[in-house]
């Protein structure tokens, strides 16, 4: 049986410098990349993607992507769809937090203390159970992604 190249997932975070939720989107993408799924994900730089970098656009055209946006302007999702292909999943931070009754961060420079505590707890919980072989996590917090509506 041929060995197929690993199909990595691209994370496209808006990074929104103006908004605390933009910082959260960036931090979330980096947590996945560095700690939760280091071998299964890559990040794509959105301004580079927008500026016309061929490698970034080609990746998003052929590989699954998750757009993480800090506001309802949805720059990451819109850009991915415009220049490559519709993102496989799209997540908007305020909707994500609202659906879970979580308070939005107040500090755009770094996550506030409460968010950091939540993050540490969540990381501990997810690290304890996730295994590469199963690819799943018994204790995993359910993350329902907001899938984009298909065009007809």
């Amino acid at each position: 049986m041929p060995v197929l190249p690993k199909r990595k997932v691209g994370l496209i975070s808006c990074s929104g410098e103006e908004l605390p939720a933009g910082t959260l989107s960036r931090v979330a993408a980096l947590k996945v990349l560095e700690r939760l799924r280091p071998n299964e994900t890559v990040t794509l730089c959105l301004p580079l993607f927008l500026a016309g970098d061929d490698k970034e656009r080609a990746f998003a055209r052929f590989y699954p992507t998750i757009a993480i946006d800090g506001c309802d302007k949805r720059c990451a999702a819109r850009a991915t769809e415009k220049y490559s292909a519709m993102p496989t999943a799209s997540l908007v931070i305020p909707e994500f937090l609202g659906a879970r009754g979580l308070e939005a961060p107040h500090n755009r420079r770094q996550l506030d203390a409460a968010a950091s505590v939540r993050q540490r707890r969540w990381r501990k919980k997810s690290h304890s159970a996730w295994t590469k072989s199963s690819g799943s996590n018994a204790n995993q917090v359910s993350i329902k992604l907001f899938l984009p509506k298909r065009k007809r």
Binding site: C45, L50, C75
Partner: protein
């Protein structure tokens, strides 16, 4: 943002590069600590996607860009939006001047990385003062950075993760 002299500081979003994180931290250090109320920022992605309000801001206000890699997305995108950066900074230039400072990682700058951001922020704060004192602060960047081979920037070292 009613004050026309308010200076916009726009870092690259560089999510995959540690120097992108340094640039972003330097920008927040200027906005929050060094020149609060005199400076502001605009989402680079919003600007690049053609948001009219964001484009109007970079055309109406003096703008400083900070880039973390040789592709210079912040500068290129500000120029593409019709703005003329009045100050152009690259994190790599801080490293060239302070080679003892090494960034730990993208998500955690470490002590050296934060020091690098602070040094850059202090230099940018002085530029902000200069721009606010200059009658025509929309002129092109007065800081001319040395041309550096892109590969050299890419190879800039990071500290080993502990």
């Amino acid at each position: 943002m009613s004050d026309p002299k308010r200076v916009l500081i726009i870092p690259c979003s560089g999510i995959g590069k540690a120097y992108g994180s340094v640039g972003r931290e330097a920008m927040y250090a200027v906005l929050d600590d060094l020149r609060p109320g005199l400076t502001d920022t605009v989402c680079l992605s919003l600007l690049t996607l053609g948001d009219e309000a964001a484009q109007a801001q970079v055309c109406e206000h003096p703008t400083i860009t900070i880039d973390g890699c040789p592709k210079a997305c912040a500068r290129v995108n500000v120029e593409a939006a019709g703005g003329t950066p009045a100050g152009i900074y690259r994190v790599f230039d801080v490293y060239r001047a302070h080679k003892d400072l090494k960034v730990r990682s993208v998500s955690e700058l470490g002590e050296s990385g934060r020091k690098m951001a602070q040094l850059l922020a202090e230099e940018i704060a002085l530029k902000v003062d200069q721009l606010r004192e200059t009658p025509d602060s929309h002129s092109a960047a007065s800081l001319v950075v040395d041309e550096v081979d892109g590969a050299q920037c890419e190879l800039a070292p990071q500290a080993e993760e502990n």
